[in-house]
């Protein structure tokens, strides 16, 4: 039964024009699809092909291409297989549609992506801050946010100067390479 479903899915998806379809193995399928067609695809996968579990939505910042990639990982408990549907949206303004009405878990992932990448999901139930309640800087997971620089500007490192180091310095030795020099 699950095999047939898989075959059926392969056939079905091959017919849709705007998408690219790649079966990675018997339990993993990758689909690349235009953003305007993705909700329909998910509806199809959920309603007609038993992919009822939204495992996660992942966001990737392809800053050089000025795009965000959104990946919807959906799982079918019937065929025991995972479809990862990839789509790309423009980084500016970074707005997309919520799939909350299809998948309840989307609310969490969309809120997270909004907070971390600044992508706004229209129709998502809750775009409020969640983890970074007191953060007013740029969405930190964006590639152009340099967290190390932020830390160095914001915090002081502990400066150690133990006796053994003083002794070595007295003999003409001492620190040659700090860890930050080799990063």
């Amino acid at each position: 039964m699950s095999k047939e479903l898989n075959l059926w899915l392969d056939d079905l998806l091959k017919d849709i024009k705007i998408i690219q379809f790649k079966r990675k193995n018997s339990r993993r399928v990758r689909i690349d699809i235009a953003p305007e067609a993705l909700p329909a695809l998910l509806e199809l996968l959920q309603g007609r092909a038993s992919y009822v579990h939204l495992s996660a939505i992942s966001c990737v910042d392809w800053i050089e291409e000025n795009e965000f990639e959104l990946v919807y990982h959906v799982w079918s408990y019937e065929t025991n297989s995972l479809v990862s549907a990839h789509t790309r949206i423009s980084r500016e303004p970074g707005v997309y549609l919520s799939v909350y009405d299809l998948y309840t878990p989307a609310a969490f992932f969309e809120r997270d992506i909004h907070e971390m990448f600044g992508v706004y999901f229209e129709g998502s139930p809750d775009m409020e801050k969640f983890i970074l309640t007191e953060w007013n800087g740029p969405p930190p997971m964006r590639k152009d946010f340099d967290s190390e620089a932020f830390v160095n500007q914001t915090f002081n490192w502990e400066e150690y100067h133990p006796q053994w180091l003083k002794d070595i310095e007295a003999e003409g030795g001492g620190i040659t390479t700090r860890p930050e020099d080799v990063r």
Binding site: E158, G173, T177
Partner: protein, 611 residues
């Protein structure tokens, strides 16, 4: 024990069962620190005698917890690949992952079975520790997490190098070594831990970490760019360098050093000659200085000096006595180790930055030194060591007793001579191997069989030639005898050379360490040969200076006196390469750079004085 059913109503009395625990003996933790597991990842200890200060631990540390500290008094020897630095750990950052332990090329660092360090607020300095072999609280706990065979993150094995089998190489001068494929080069380059020991040990301080990294990144052009920062003889060095870098390589402490020389060769071969010329020309001065420099000798020392000075906008002319430029890299090193077209490629690059090379001009006879002095702003003599030394044993003045460098030069120049059916070589160094193996090839192709005997003073434990040379020579049919001292070149009554008699060596040096071989007179052998070749060292032909200049110059035991920068006692004259320093190509290159820099300063000072 079956699972509990959802319908199970449970029991209200069940919990009372635990009352029975009242009768159990309580668990008491002893006050003594408990013993940690054998593998525990506690605090660092570092065996300072083994640690070489390579700072690889610092690079792998995921928490930027390691600072390198220079400690005066510890050995500091770039040639051996040892720095007087040791890692110190910030326990405010360390997470005790032990990656430093697993990567350490020497296995010097490990973690102990100690659990606890704490302190009062005003003692935060105690979190910064310089691990030594003694443990951090004046008490040595047993080692916990240390390097084991299955845990090594360093790849100890080198990529195999494909080469010709002895049968197919023994009658021709084709290059033996194939060179790395791209895939192999990337894997080999990936073994590097970027410690920079190679850079420090290299006479010309090649940027090996940088070019290895570039090769690993698949960017051979960048690798070439890094090489040309310090070495215009990169094709040559990629093939025949004595690779001190590999001796210093920290991976070589426990495994095969990274094949730095072959990586250099790979990158040079991977980039087209034309592209190499463009890269080499980067940074060339866009003006003409109007200064003229003459360089005598087109070996690596002379040509490197020329390359640097030409790039700085000076007019450089190199005079070479022989037909073609290259010096010993052409007329000494045999073609099976260094194909001429690769040497030509290096020299073409040097010419392309504007160096003029005039061959077939012997200074001293064709042009005098005095003339050069008049025509040029500075003169460099880099004439190498062209004359073979003689043993001066009886019979060594026979015409069939020859010098190895003369024969090697003839072979390169294509000058014909009668290849003897059997030959004896005196000497145990790399030059002896070169001539022995070259003649073996010629014998094999002319007579179908090899009859070359090498007789060396040293025993195999103290041999001068590289082990690979010895191995390959034997594979090609050369017979190598160790601990034999030359006694006499035997000449029969018709005046024909019969061979060489040798004596067994008792010792080579006297009690004061001076060279004074003593022989066992009873242990005498005759090695038949229609030719005896002396290969016991070379010297400079200094006749070019003429009497007056020779007088004026300072000498040091027959060698021209020149400082590190090649400055001689005569203001307009510099000297570089084998004739003053030696002993190999990369030293000659390093010398060339120093001399060029010194001349540059001289010229600048001169011009500012004139203004």
């Amino acid at each position: 024990m079956s699972d509990i059913s959802y319908k199970d109503k449970g029991s209200i009395l069940g919990p009372f069962k635990s009352l029975s625990f009242f009768s159990r003996k309580p668990v008491t933790e002893p006050f003594e620190p408990r013993i940690a597991a054998d593998n525990y990842r506690g605090f660092h200890v570092n065996d300072w005698d083994v640690c070489i200060g390579c700072s690889t631990c610092q690079k792998v540390c995921d928490n930027a917890a390691i600072t390198m500290i220079k400690i005066p008094g510890l050995p500091d020897d770039p040639v051996m690949g040892i720095r007087n630095e040791r890692p110190a750990i910030d326990y405010g950052r360390c997470c005790w992952c032990g990656l430093c332990v697993d990567i350490c090329p020497t296995s010097s660092i490990s973690l102990t079975q100690e659990y606890v360090h704490t302190c009062r607020e005003n003692e935060l300095d105690s979190y910064f520790i310089l691990p030594d072999p003694n443990g951090m609280h004046n008490k040595l706990f047993p080692k916990g997490w240390s390097k084991t065979g299955d845990a090594d993150l360093v790849d100890l094995e080198r990529q195999p190098m494909a080469e010709m089998e002895p049968q197919s190489r023994s009658d021709n001068f084709d290059e033996i070594v194939d060179g790395f494929t791209k895939q192999q080069a990337i894997i080999e380059a990936s073994r590097c831990v970027q410690c920079g020991m190679c850079h420090d040990s290299c006479p010309t301080n090649m940027h090996a970490p940088e070019y290895i990294r570039a090769i690993w990144e698949g960017d051979a052009e960048e690798a070439v760019r890094q090489m040309y920062r310090t070495n215009p003889f990169s094709h040559v060095c990629g093939r025949v360098c004595t690779h001190r870098c590999e001796t210093a390589c920290s991976i070589g402490r426990r495994g095969d050093p990274v094949a730095i020389r072959w990586l250099k060769r790979y990158a040079m071969d991977a980039v087209s000659d034309e592209r190499v010329r463009e890269i080499a020309a980067e940074g060339k001065a866009d003006f003409v200085s109007g200064k003229k420099i003459a360089i005598i000798g087109s070996g690596p020392a002379g040509l490197t000096t020329a390359f640097d000075l030409a790039k700085n906008g000076h007019a450089v002319t190199v005079y070479e006595a022989l037909h073609k430029p290259g010096g010993m890299t052409r007329y000494g090193i045999p073609e099976y180790r260094l194909p001429y077209d690769r040497l030509d490629a290096d020299i073409d690059v040097i010419k392309s930055v504007g160096v003029r090379i005039e061959c077939n001009v012997r200074i001293g006879s064709d042009i005098t030194m005095e003339q050069l002095r008049q025509d040029f702003d500075a003169v460099v003599v880099a004439i190498g060591l062209q004359q073979g030394r003689s043993t001066r044993i009886p019979g060594s003045d026979h015409e069939q007793v020859r010098a190895s460098v003369d024969l090697l030069r003839m072979i390169t120049a294509g000058e014909s001579f009668d290849v003897p059916e059997s030959v004896v070589v005196i000497g145990g160094g790399n030059v002896a191997m070169d001539i022995a193996r070259s003649l073996a090839r010629m014998q094999k192709s002319q007579y179908g069989k090899v009859a070359v005997t090498v007789s060396a003073l040293e025993d195999f434990d103290h041999f001068l030639a590289d082990p690979e040379e010895v191995k390959e020579a034997r594979e090609e049919g050369v017979v190598i005898l160790d601990s034999r001292g030359p006694k006499e070149c035997v000449i029969d009554k018709n005046g024909k050379l019969e061979g060489l008699t040798t004596l067994g060596v008792i010792s080579i040096f006297d009690d004061d360490g001076r060279f004074a071989p003593s022989y066992d007179e009873v242990d005498e052998q005759l090695h038949h040969g229609g030719m005896v070749i002396e290969s016991i060292g070379q010297m400079s032909d200094i006749s070019l200076f003429g009497e007056e200049l020779t007088e004026e110059l300072e000498w040091n035991r027959g060698r021209l006196q020149a400082d590190e920068d090649g400055v001689t006692s005569v203001s307009w004259l510099w000297s570089a390469g084998d004739m003053v320093h030696g002993p190999d190509v990369v030293h000659a290159v390093a010398d060339g750079h120093r001399v060029a820099a010194s001349i540059e300063t001289y010229l600048n000072e001169g011009s500012s004085n004139n203004e």
